[in-house]
């Protein structure tokens, strides 16, 4: 009950605010000049003291990428991106990697405060370990000791490459191969940093793990790389949240996330994405092209994706599950909200390979103003996926009459014992619902926020409680001016 109260309070606080994270931290940066060739790829690897195998891997990816055409099949209209105009590495000066909190540049901490991530308090109070990424370099990692006790590895990707090369070499690219798609190949070549999580056999990670990504430097693309490995019988819940300062130029964000769940392991991966969406006229904003995929490798393993996508000018993202292990489970819970001229093309792929595998897809799309919101999903039941099941529910909510909602579900069934169910609805916020709320004293904007959070309830309930508050607040902020 009190969480509901908190949520409402937060919603009210966020009311009538415009994008409030539009500030820039004035810290000198080391930035590689714009451009991309083998030399730049090598330089990135060298600056990070990476082992040789990783450099080779990057170069292989780069050579694939050079030959690939940019995809244009998504229901998005994208201005051509000039990849030679982007700088591929940027990090705050005087910072060669994670430090203890005391050593951190106070300006950085101040930035996080403004973003609502008071590290020292929040981390302690909520029991959340935060690995904060400022531009490309992990600045600080908290709670590492406690995690280390449990044998959990939670560190920046760069650290992991040096401290745990055998794990990186074993798993990197096994779920999202370098050739997988254009943006994944680009990421593989130039990824700057990210997060590595390793949960040993039988361990239940003692706390929620969380990373906040943030773009700061102008004209730098962010290429995060996240790898989570859950050994047999382990459990981890991980949350990634993002905000970015206001920029006039579009910024590219091309992340790759790979999850590996062994026998009886479970990974819960939640995202609250609030990149800058651009202004009312569609100027500025982040291009968010992300490849997220989980491999349910072992029997009875489970991977669930929960995402709240409210930001970015363009979102192109399909967190997917490969249900390899028998009796494994994949879930996708999504809220995608678009306003003004935002475009979102998101969904999931559930690839059933093992017997008795189950997948569930709950997608809630909300589109306001002239925005376009597309659900694109694929469910494949392979020959061997006997007695597998999928349930898909796709709901769209339209606000105003210019917004668009599109649903492209695709199914591919190669055996006769699998069962698929699909439900889809499209609704509008009814004027009578607004009138009802307003008659009870609630302003129109708050009323829209409440109705939308009701529409999204099933997905919001999947989020760790402390983040559900933030998610509701973000929905409210991003719906600002949706009517009228």
């Amino acid at each position: 009950m009190s969480d509901i109260d908190n949520k409402n309070k937060e919603i009210n606080e966020f009311l009538n605010k415009s994008y409030e994270y539009g500030f820039t931290t004035e810290i000198e940066s080391e930035t590689i000049p714009p451009g991309l060739d083998e030399e730049v790829v090598t330089l990135i690897s060298k600056m990070k003291n990476e082992p040789e195998f990783l450099l080779k891997w990057r170069l292989k990816a780069f050579n694939h990428w050079k030959k690939m055409p940019q995809p244009d099949w998504a229901k998005l209209s994208i201005d051509p991106i000039d990849y030679q105009a982007i700088s591929y590495f940027s990090k705050p000066k005087n910072d060669d990697g994670p430090k203890s909190l005391e050593e951190v540049d106070p300006k950085l901490l101040e930035t996080y405060e403004k973003l609502g991530i008071p590290l020292h308090e929040r981390a302690k109070l909520a029991g959340v370990a935060v690995d904060a990424v400022f531009d490309s370099v992990s600045v600080v990692t908290t709670f590492k000791d406690k995690l280390a006790e449990a044998g959990v590895i939670f560190c920046s990707f760069s650290e992991a490459a040096i401290d745990h090369p055998e794990l990186i070499e074993k798993y990197l690219g096994t779920v999202v191969p370098v050739k997988d798609n254009y943006f994944a190949a680009l990421n593989s070549a130039v990824f700057s940093d990210g997060t590595f999580v390793y949960i040993p056999k039988g361990v239940r990670c003692p706390m929620e793990l969380s990373t906040y990504f943030r773009i700061n430097e102008a004209k730098t693309g962010q290429f995060e790389r996240t790898l989570i490995v859950a050994e047999e019988g382990s459990y981890v819940s991980y949350l990634e949240g993002c905000t970015a300062p206001m920029r006039d130029e579009n910024q590219l964000h091309a992340a790759v996330v790979e999850l590996v769940a062994h026998k009886d392991a479970e990974i819960k991966y939640s995202t609250v994405q609030n990149w800058y969406p651009g202004d009312e006229d569609g100027k500025g904003g982040i291009y968010n092209f992300v490849t997220k995929r989980g491999d349910c490798k072992g029997e009875n393993s489970k991977i669930s994706w929960t995402q709240i996508e409210t930001g970015s000018a363009i979102t192109w993202k399909y967190p997917s599950c490969i249900l390899r292990g028998d009796n494994s489970t994949g879930e996708f819970h999504s809220i995608a909200l678009t306003n003004n001229l935002q475009q979102a093309d998101t969904g999931t792929k559930m690839i059933h390979l093992g017997k008795d595998t189950k997948s569930k897809i709950i997608s809630k799309g909300i589109s306001a103003k002239s925005s376009q919101n597309t659900y694109r999903g694929q469910v494949t039941m392979s020959k061997g996926a006997k007695n597998s099941r999928n349930f898909t529910q796709c709901d769209s909510l339209l606000i105003g009459s210019n917004a668009g909602a599109h649903t492209f579900p695709s199914i591919d069934v190669m055996n006769s014992s699998s069962i698929l169910e699909h439900e889809a609805t499209t609704s509008k916020i009814a004027d009578e619902q607004l009138f009802y709320c307003m008659q009870r004293g609630i302003s129109e904007e708050d009323a829209i926020g409440l109705i939308v959070s009701g529409f999204c309830k099933e997905v919001l309930n999947e989020l760790p409680m402390e983040f559900a508050v933030e998610a509701r607040a973000l929905l409210q902020v991003n719906l600002e001016g949706a009517i009228g």
């Binding site: 919603i11 009802y436 109705i451």
Partner: protein, 250 residues
Amino acid sequence: MAKILSIKDLHVDVASTPIINGLNLEIESGETHAIMGPNGSGKSTLAKTIAGHPDYKIKSGEITYMDHDLNDLPIEERSNLGVFLGFQYPIEIPGLSNTAFLKAAINAKRKYNGLEELSASDFLIDLKEKSKMVEIEQKFLSRGVNEGFSGGEKKRNEILQMLMLEPTLSILDETDSGLDIDSMKVVASGVNAFRNENTSSLIITHYERLLNYITPDYVHVFHNGVIIKTGDIQLAKDLEKRGYEWLTNP
């Protein structure tokens, strides 16, 4: 006694059709007025016009609530000033819990009046007590607003909202329609609990039955968007026996 609502020569159009045609009505604090009248005579139109529904256009005349010209006020402000409408057809808001909805409404009103938000515990104590009064079980409160509620449950939920929001003027549009006898008693006791010298009610009903539990000070007969006769409870009893013919078509 203070004047709560004063309607003078009101003309209202709906979809370019005149529905209210020169209505006059005065309600003082502490008074309970009942409005009866044939289907389509404009009763709900009056209720929604007072509440500020955008489809109901005031062509001429005035509605004064306390010292405010209601025509100038946004919907939510009317509510925050103490105007409550119990809907004839309460709408469903899927997924939004009744509790969250009520809390938002109460805090909106408190904010408007420069008050702090109600603490979660005070809110819950109040909610528990009042939901008991209208016999709404706790488990209903965590369900979506009116989501899957039966007709009678929806009406009792309207009374619960009224009790929680503590309005000054309560307009109840056929809150008794479709209720079984026990539910009707519950609704009536809710309305009576709300009644005091500072509050007023405008009760739209088709049945004299309710008025036996909530004794109104006045009974008005509505026809073609005007009041054609005013009396007391006896008028309601006559209508029950004789119908509207003798008044509308004498």
